[in-house]
């Protein structure tokens, strides 16, 4: 039906169907993509608009109901070039990271201020509780609303900030106006829409796939199955074991089986429903310990052991300790839940190649995986970066890339694929569930003498980055402490659960929960203050790690512990019911920076300095990805510091530039930062030598200090450098209802040097929020391989009312060899937040809590602690799994496979 609707003051007459939402009308019909689609369940608030002046989620408004009404969107906030005070305040307060949630938050905040010009913290958090943010931890959003309402009283970002200053985001303005284009916002003329048909079974044989009927649906231009993949049938970051489309066996619920491209999304969806796949269900292997039983179903013909790592240092069996503690700990499958769902646009080129624009964390490793599957040389596959709506590891693996390219090449038309929230939960890897058995021995004065750890990770159906996650978890398993005698047995297995891979912390959060919980138990047994016990054993420069690696970089572990412990505790709330108990918990975490195990990790960047109309302008060209964390702002700060220019442009990332490596492993400030710094210094030397005002371009590549693989004892120079964090949580528990509320998190971060204080605070605040989710609410609930809560209604990420203020402090001991002595900080706060919060809940309740997320049943003693039958099983075949040749190790992080 034709409706008439006024949007931002302009009248439109649009034909809509009964199932069309106002969100779809705004985005697809009117091209107003500032209103974001992140869940279509009315949970996340990213699609907030005003309908006749009333704040609504546009995804839940039937477009037909907008007939005769007036709609206002984020695009109406700014008056031309003049930003709305809230838009300006969001940029000034550092409230924007990936920016995906920002338009919805701005609309909701503007609605609040219209009703309440000077709200307090509580009123702001209540008003914004229906707007999810996964990057910021909400504190800087609350600050921004205060700043907009009061105009003063808070630090503001610096317009052209150099290294050490809170520089304003270089991509900030389009993010607050809504103009910033994420993968899901891309469009092209004559574009088709692609959809994926996924397996409803976690384990099944495909007897047949019938596509005839699907092809008869009007508008359908292609229906593709595994037979239509022209090149290599599989892809993967480390092993190419994951089928582009399943051909004979499906190994997890949600595995892609077929693709459809059609003129409209609705036509493509209808056609996908008409594809008839005849499945023969097979036994489901859903338990990671069962995977190691001899009679377990084999997920792959080469067995269920994905990787086994053994680290032996000293002699833990002969170590003499006065006190031993032993514990068993479990962590769940966590989802990154980046607000921007996976999406991309593939456009065929005249030369028979394809250009893909997508949201990813590493353009070049995507291309290495895509091109062979398309049977194209790499140079015929060009990838450019679309706006990244948060990542947290979820975009390290392939999502729509190969599928969209296949459909584009198969139809000769541009094809857009954009997952909804439910498909996003099935379309990316998750954090590995873990089981850890840990035993610490100590002297009676609290010196650790031994650690014995067995660790089991559920890798799910395919490899992804599991080998590297396991290596990390294994090498960190004894904690950031000097322990002379250590044994770690780490194993990651295949199951019929969804594949697991990278997520913020990458193996570190799982073991940090175990070793910090065990250390608290040890402190209790020794009747020693938990902070003091940690201080007595803290790593320092020169310490020897369980791998025999000598810690050569900066390691101010004592300093972060002392700094965190000195942050003032919050005042108890005055009038509390007698069923509320307060607890305080403390934890220390650490993690490697950049890639490990002999991988030749590098980043390339090009800088051009030229004269501009308003003075000199520098341009940075790099394939490094800003995932929302602020990398491009950091690179601009480095250029300003090195070249003394104000104006810096960071060009869109593209595979025509050399690889900058992955935006992961907390590595890009060091890696891309060092490359930019080096290019700038060459330019500066030339400029100073010649005194020339001519345009100068220099390209530099940075490699970090080389590492090695493990030897047979698990010894080696595995990691290049480390960062440390200490966190303290204050939690209030309703001990009758079993509800925990975090009141405050204090965090002290080893940062080397803080390039952008506001951005660094944002990393800690947002990182802690993800650790909070893991501690209390976040868990993908799986039953026999079936996922039950793949939605924002039931996968519970923290809201503005769940994340408390995070007090952040930085310890700055420069890292030798890194530009300005910087260290990556992106992952650290996530790691120690979880054990700190659980320790606080233990302190408040006295309960044994050895599993996260801590449920109300755990808090009330209605559920027994996680139990184990005994020591973790060791697989029959310890050591490296024999990987079949056909998996083809010639791609991706492959070099590290060779090193092993």
């Amino acid at each position: 039906m034709l409706i008439r609707v006024a949007v931002n003051g302009t009248e439109h007459a649009i034909d809509v169907s009964p199932g069309t939402s106002l969100l779809t009308l705004l985005r697809d019909e009117l091209g107003l993509t500032g209103t974001r689609n992140a869940c279509e369940e009315g949970e996340c608030g990213s699609c907030s608009v005003w309908l006749d002046g009333v704040l609504v989620c546009s995804c839940l408004v039937p477009a037909l109901q907008a007939d005769g009404r007036e709609v206002r969107t984020v695009e109406a906030l700014a008056a031309g070039e003049e930003l709305h005070p809230l838009q300006d305040a969001f940029l000034a307060a550092g409230a924007v990271q990936c920016g995906f949630c920002t338009p919805g938050l701005l609309v909701a905040a503007a609605d609040l201020l219209a009703r309440n010009p000077d709200p307090d913290d509580r009123e702001i958090r209540e008003a914004l509780a229906g707007n999810f943010c996964r990057c910021t931890g909400y504190q800087k959003i609350v600050d921004a609303v205060h700043l907009a309402s009061r105009g003063t009283g808070l630090p503001r970002a610096v317009e052209h900030g150099a290294v050490g200053e809170s520089a304003r985001r270089v991509d900030g303005i389009p993010k607050v106006t809504g103009a910033f284009a994420y993968g899901s916002d891309l469009r092209a003329d004559t574009m088709l829409r692609g959809v994926t048909l996924r397996s409803p079974y976690p384990s099944a044989r495909i007897r047949s796939i019938e596509v005839t009927e699907a092809k008869t649906v009007p508008g359908v231009r292609a229906v593709l199955t595994a037979d239509d993949v022209p090149g290599r049938p599989t892809f993967g970051l480390e092993y190419c074991d994951q089928p582009v489309l399943a051909s004979d066996i499906v190994r997890y619920e949600g595995e892609p089986v077929a693709l459809v491209a059609a003129e409209t999304l609705e036509q493509a969806r209808r056609a996908a429903e008409l594809i008839k796949v005849d499945y023969e269900p097979l036994p489901v292997l859903s338990d990671m310990e069962d995977a190691l039983c001899p009679d377990a179903p084999q997920v792959h013909e080469f067995g269920n052991v994905l990787r086994h790592v053994q680290i032996l240092h000293g002699d833990p069996d002969a170590a003499e300790a006065d006190v031993w503690v032993e514990g068993y700990y479990e962590t769940p499958m966590q989802d990154q839940a980046a607000l921007g769902p996976e999406a991309g646009l593939a456009v065929p080129t005249d030369e028979g190649g394809v250009e893909l624009q997508t949201s990813t964390q590493w353009l070049h490793v995507d291309r290495q995986q895509i091109a062979p599957c398309l049977n194209l040389p790499e140079e015929k596959v060009r990838i450019t970066l679309a706006g990244v709506g948060g990542a947290f590891g979820s975009r390290e693996d392939i999502h729509v890339q190969i599928h969209a390219c296949l459909l584009a090449l198969g139809t000769g038309r541009p094809v857009k694929m954009a997952y909804g929230r439910e498909e996003s939960f099935r379309g990316h890897v998750h954090r590995h569930p873990s089981r850890t058995w840990i035993r610490y021995g100590a002297t009676k004065d609290g010196r650790l003498v031994a650690a014995d750890v067995r660790l089991l990770l559920d890798g799910g159906a395919y490899t992804s980055s599991s080998p590297a996650v396991l290596a990390n978890a294994s090498t960190f398993a004894a904690g950031p402490y000097e322990v002379p005698n250590v044994r770690v047995e780490g194993t990651v297995v295949y199951t019929n659960n969804p594949p697991c891979g990278a997520m913020r912390g990458f193996g570190a959060p799982q073991v940090c929960f175990a070793y910090e919980s065990a250390l608290d138990a040890l402190a209790a047994k020794l009747e020693l203050d938990p902070v003091e016990l940690r201080l007595r054993n803290a790593l320092r420069t020169g310490s020897v790690l369980p791998t025999g690696q000598v810690l050569v970089g900066s390691a101010p572990v004592r300093e972060v512990i002392e700094t965190c412990a000195a942050i003032p505790l919050p005042e108890p709330e005055p009038a509390r019911a007698n069923w509320i108990r307060r607890g305080v918990g403390f934890a220390v975490g650490f993690k490697n920076i950049a890639y490990s195990e002999g991988f030749d990790d590098s980043a390339e960047a090009t800088v051009t300095l030229r004269a501009g109309a308003d003075g000199p302008v520098a341009e940075v060209r790099t394939a490094a990805v800003d995932s929302g964390q602020g990398l491009y702002t950091v690179l601009a700060q480095i250029v300003r510091t090195e070249l003394g220019v104000e104006q810096v442009v960071v060009s869109p990332a593209d595979t025509t530039y050399g690889s900058a490596g992955s935006t992961s492993a907390s590595r890009q400030t060091t890696m891309a930062g060092a490359a930019v710094q080096a290019a700038c210094r060459e330019i500066r030397a030339l400029r100073d030598a010649n005194g020339t005002a001519e345009e100068i371009t220099r390209t530099a590549t940075y490699h970090h200090r080389a590492t090695t693989g493990f030897d047979e004892q698990g010894q080696g120079d595995i990691h290049t450098s480390f960062a440390f964090v200490a966190e303290r949580a204050v939690v209030e528990v309703d001990v009758e209802l079993g509800l925990a509320r975090v009141v405050q998190i204090a965090a002290a971060q080893d940062a080397g040097l803080v390039v952008n204080p506001q951005g660094a605070e944002g990393q800690l605040e947002g990182g802690a929020a993800i650790g909070l989710g893991l501690a209390l609410t976040e868990e993908l609930q799986l039953d026999e391989g079936h996922l039950h809560n793949g939605s924002f209604t039931d996968y519970l990420i923290p809201t503005a009312l769940d994340v408390p203020p995070v007090i952040t402090m930085f310890v700055t001991v420069p890292e030798p060899g890194a530009p300005y002595g910087v260290k990556g900080i992106g992952e650290l706060a996530t790691i120690a937040a979880t054990p700190a919060i659980v320790a606080a809940v233990r302190a408040a309740t006295g309960r044994v809590l050895n599993r996260v997320p801590v449920t109300p049943d755990d808090l009330l003693g209605l559920r027994a602690p996680a139990a184990t039958a005994g020591r973790a099983p060791i697989p029959d075949v310890p050591g490296q799994l024999a990987v079949p040749e056909y998996l083809g190790l010639g791609i991706g992080q492959q070099e590290l496979m060779k090193a092993r």
């Binding site: 039906m1 809509v16 169907s17 009964p18 199932g19 939402s21 279509e40 369940e41 009315g42 949970e43 608030g45 907030s48 009333v54 704040l55 609504v56 989620c57 995804c59 839940l60 408004v61 039937p62 037909l64 109901q65 007939d67 909701a108 609605d111 209540e126 008003a127 509780a129 229906g130 707007n131 969806r269 909804g420 439910e422 009758e736 209802l737 079993g738 509800l739 509320r741 209390l776 609410t777 609930q781 039950h788 809560n789 209604t793 039931d794 519970l796 923290p798 809201t799 503005a800 009312l801 769940d802 449920t855 109300p856 049943d857 009330l860 209605l862 559920r863």
Partner: protein
């Protein structure tokens, strides 16, 4: 025809008969979740948002009529003398959802976790159903709610609103969920004191196939001293025994029953304090 947008209830009821394929919609906050997920593909919509009659509330002969189309945001702002209903309205999702979601939608969806329903059950409200053929009928809420997402509304009927006789006495509503906002109730409890009868009505949400009345607890309360902690504890124990919870992905049966006991105890203690 894609959409029918009647201006009166009578007109809407005629559409309901003539075009049974048209899906009724008011705020859309439940319907559109299913539409967006592809679980429902409506052939046509019966848009109830222009029917003034169901978009208002008021009193008649002491009874309160709350139109089906009144949103939770309006309930929170306008029905301020009904404290429990206001508390329940505030606990619904987010500002964005409360601006659209209606009490009629809550009843039509008939989820045992619907936040408004325990209050209406404790108010002993009647659903006012209307049909072109049979006119209006009042259905006691207990008879209206048949099971999870199932009601006794006839196919040609629409919900015009709910009606109740206010009673003198304090009341309260409390809801428990896993996070502090945007949460579907794990369990909820609404208590309403009837001073004249020295009785309480206790409604339990999210702990059974529909919202339940805790009848044994209510009967016990009639003869009990609400000031006596032992009596309050027994009341709470009976309320928990009246719950019929299940395990699902949002919570366990054992925790739900436990929550009912705690909330029932706190509720009776609180209303007793309010009376003194």
């Amino acid at each position: 025809m894609d959409v029918f947008a009647p201006r009166s209830l009578e007109e809407a009821l005629d559409v309901r008969v003539a075009h049974p394929e048209a899906t009724p919609v008011a705020g859309g906050t439940d319907l559109m979740v299913d539409v967006n997920a592809g679980r429902i593909r409506p052939k046509a919509l019966l848009d109830l948002s222009h029917v003034d009659e169901i978009g208002s509330w008021g009193r008649d002969n002491g009874r309160v009529f709350l139109g089906a189309g009144v949103t939770f945001a309006r309930i929170g702002r306008e029905l301020t003398e009904f404290h429990s209903l206001v508390t329940a309205a505030h606990s619904v999702a987010s500002a964005q959802i409360r601006n659209r979601a209606t009490i009629g939608g809550n009843l039509a969806t008939a989820s045992p976790a619907g936040d408004g329903i325990p209050v209406l059950v404790a108010y002993e409200a009647d659903v006012v159903a209307a049909a072109a053929r049979t006119g209006r009928r009042r259905i006691p809420l207990g008879n209206f709610l048949r099971g999870p997402k199932s009601t006794t509304l006839a196919p040609d009927e629409l919900i015009a609103g709910v009606e109740w006789q206010p009673v003198a006495g304090p009341g309260s509503f409390a809801k428990v969920g896993r996070r502090n906002a945007m949460v579907i109730a794990v369990a909820s409890v609404c208590i309403q004191v009837d001073e004249e009868r020295h009785s309480v009505r206790l409604a339990l949400g999210s702990v059974g196939p529909t919202v339940l009345r805790a009848r044994r607890a209510e009967r016990f309360a009639e003869g009990a001293d609400w000031h006596d902690p032992a009596a309050v504890a027994e009341f709470a124990r009976l309320a928990a025994a009246d719950a019929r919870p299940i395990d699902d992905l949002r919570g366990t049966a054992v925790h739900r029953r436990h929550v009912v006991e705690v909330l029932a105890r706190r509720a009776l203690t609180q209303v007793e304090e309010a009376r003194c």
